[in-house]
């Protein structure tokens, strides 16, 4: 009865959490919604109700591992790990930047890292000032692109309007990306910065 033919996908790397139930064979989201990261589980429960999908129909969990906001990433990862453990199904991590690209092929995905920096993929994952992003007239998407629009546009980038859906991370794309490219990451946040105390210690080792 309960063919495990659906995947739960969720991403909490940015201020808007995204959740989707994806049908495995068609790789199509049967339901998805956005929520505040702190309201993730309450909305997730609603999603299953409206989609009329049973938890027992889940064959896996896919979770966005960032880079992004640390506290809200941890909410998503802790939730996803617990669900996978309780349902005894596998869990996969996917880069949130990959999910952004899946929704805007060819674009440069940028996630706001605060403190005047963006998270981006530049050969490797980095945390840099927007002035250092190689844009070359390309399309930039993500909340990092919205936050540093002026800096990016001044250097020839195209940044869609703030309400353009390509800036939003859609969990459905996580599931599709993970299935297609098999870019599975460990289920741990992609921390690109050391904790503050650690950095202070390095800069002032005697402190």
């Amino acid at each position: 009865m309960s063919a495990r033919d659906h995947v739960l996908a969720l991403d909490t790397a940015t201020d808007v959490a995204s959740v989707a139930i994806v049908e495995t064979t068609r790789r199509e989201a049967v339901a998805e919604l956005e929520a505040r990261p702190s309201a993730l589980l309450a909305r997730l429960d609603d999603l299953f109700d409206t989609a009329r999908v049973e938890k027992t129909a889940l064959g896996g969990v896919v979770v966005g591992v960032g880079p992004g906001r640390y506290t809200s990433l941890r909410i998503g990862l802790a939730t996803a790990k617990a669900i996978a453990t309780a349902l005894k199904i596998p869990i996969t991590g996917v880069s949130t930047l990959d999910a952004l690209v899946a929704g805007a092929p060819g674009a440069v995905p940028l996630i706001d890292a605060r403190r005047g920096e963006v998270f981006m993929h530049d050969g490797e994952l980095v945390c840099v000032a927007p002035e250092r992003v190689a844009v070359d007239g390309r399309l930039c998407v993500g909340d990092g692109a919205v936050a540093y629009r002026a800096e990016l546009e001044a250097r020839g980038a195209t940044v869609p309007g703030e309400s353009d859906p390509r800036h939003r991370v859609r969990a459905a794309f996580l599931a599709q990306g993970a299935g297609r490219t098999g870019l599975a990451l460990p289920v741990e946040p992609l921390y690109l910065r050391a904790p503050d105390a650690e950095r202070t210690r390095k800069e002032f080792p005697q402190a």
């Binding site: 589980l41 941890r74 939730t79 309780a86 105390a197």
Partner: protein, 325 residues
């Protein structure tokens, strides 16, 4: 045996999970302390703590289940610390517990950390029955509580500044004992003479405490000594300092007992692990939580959950962490 309660605690620097039975027997109590991780910073770094909790929460819960020879299907209720504590740290445990509850359809009880400390007395064969007077003394709190029933308490006294455990930690740092300092100071004090120095404890109104003055007094005492002299006097200073704090705590409990007309006195929290304090409490006939239940642990959270009202599914799915009461 689908009657177990799983308790999960991540409010500060211990990732802890435990399983207890419906009548309060502790089946497992797994505590993974991050103390070593924070030692080089001289205190708990919230971001470092949160990262570690996320790494540890799953292995700690699974070890608690294994030690109890149970699986999630044996769990009838999940208790989890909602606050007070470090919000980022709390959110890891809370999110994990909520995810388990939702997916495995197990009722969840959000627990107040302080109630958890009190509920450590309701565990085991000789569980303490309310009413009683309770001193909760830890690194984050120093409270005098009247406990009239299993489900809550009334606060009748608190600290105006530092918590008692904080006073021990800060004293240990002044004496160069590293972090966490409480246990190190306890060990050193056993080799010292507590009558060599007098550290006055401020008297404040009501049933409140103040520990900032005694810390300053120690600072001045240490400043007067050169390195050699300090090395010689360190154990005596530790013993005298410890005595001052222990005296203040005991005086207040006795006053509170008189004031509230309560005969039974109990002490919980990390400071209750201090050996000098425990010895004095024994002569007073006070009840002290067993050692593994003094510092933050999952069993006390499970114990509090045992008496917490059931929360509706919609209610617990929406529950959020809080940093202070």
């Amino acid at each position: 045996m689908s009657e177990l309660i799983l308790g999960l605690e991540t409010s500060c620097d211990e990732t802890a999970a435990a399983l207890i039975t419906a009548d309060g027997a502790v089946l497992s109590n797994v505590i993974s302390s991050q103390a070593d991780l924070h030692a080089r910073f001289g205190g708990v770094v919230p971001e470092v703590a949160s990262r570690r909790h996320l790494e540890l929460v799953e292995p700690v819960v699974s070890e608690a289940l294994v030690e109890a020879e149970a699986t999630l299907s044996d769990v009838a209720k999940i208790g989890v610390t909602q606050g007070p504590g470090l919000v980022g740290a709390l959110l890891v445990g809370l999110s994990y517990a909520k995810g388990l509850s939702w997916a495995a359809q197990i009722p969840l009880a959000p627990v107040d950390h302080l109630h958890g400390h009190v509920a450590s007395l309701f565990l085991g064969d000789d569980a303490l029955e309310p009413p009683f007077l309770c001193l909760l003394a830890s690194g984050g709190h120093t409270l005098v509580l009247v406990v009239n029933d299993h489900a809550g308490f009334e606060v009748v006294g608190g600290t105006r500044d530092d918590a008692a455990g904080e006073a021990f930690d800060k004293g240990a740092r002044l004496l160069g004992l590293g972090y966490p300092g409480g246990p190190a100071l306890d060990r050193l004090a056993r080799t010292g003479d507590p009558s060599t120095h007098t550290f006055p404890i401020a008297r404040v109104d009501g049933l409140d405490f103040s520990f900032s003055g005694v810390k300053t007094a120690l600072l001045y005492a240490v400043r007067e000594l050169d390195e050699t002299a300090l090395a010689e006097r360190r154990a005596d200073l530790a013993a005298s300092y410890e005595l001052a704090i222990v005296d203040a705590l005991l005086q207040r409990i006795e006053q509170a007992a008189e004031h509230t007309h309560m005969d039974t006195i109990a002490v919980v929290g990390g400071v209750a692990a201090n050996s000098a304090f425990r010895a004095r409490l024994a002569t007073l006939g006070a009840r002290v939580a067993p050692l593994p239940l003094c510092t933050d642990n999952g069993a006390m959270i499970a114990s509090a959950a045992r008496y917490a009202p059931n929360v509706s599914k919609a209610g617990y799915l929406a529950v959020d962490a809080y940093s202070s009461r």
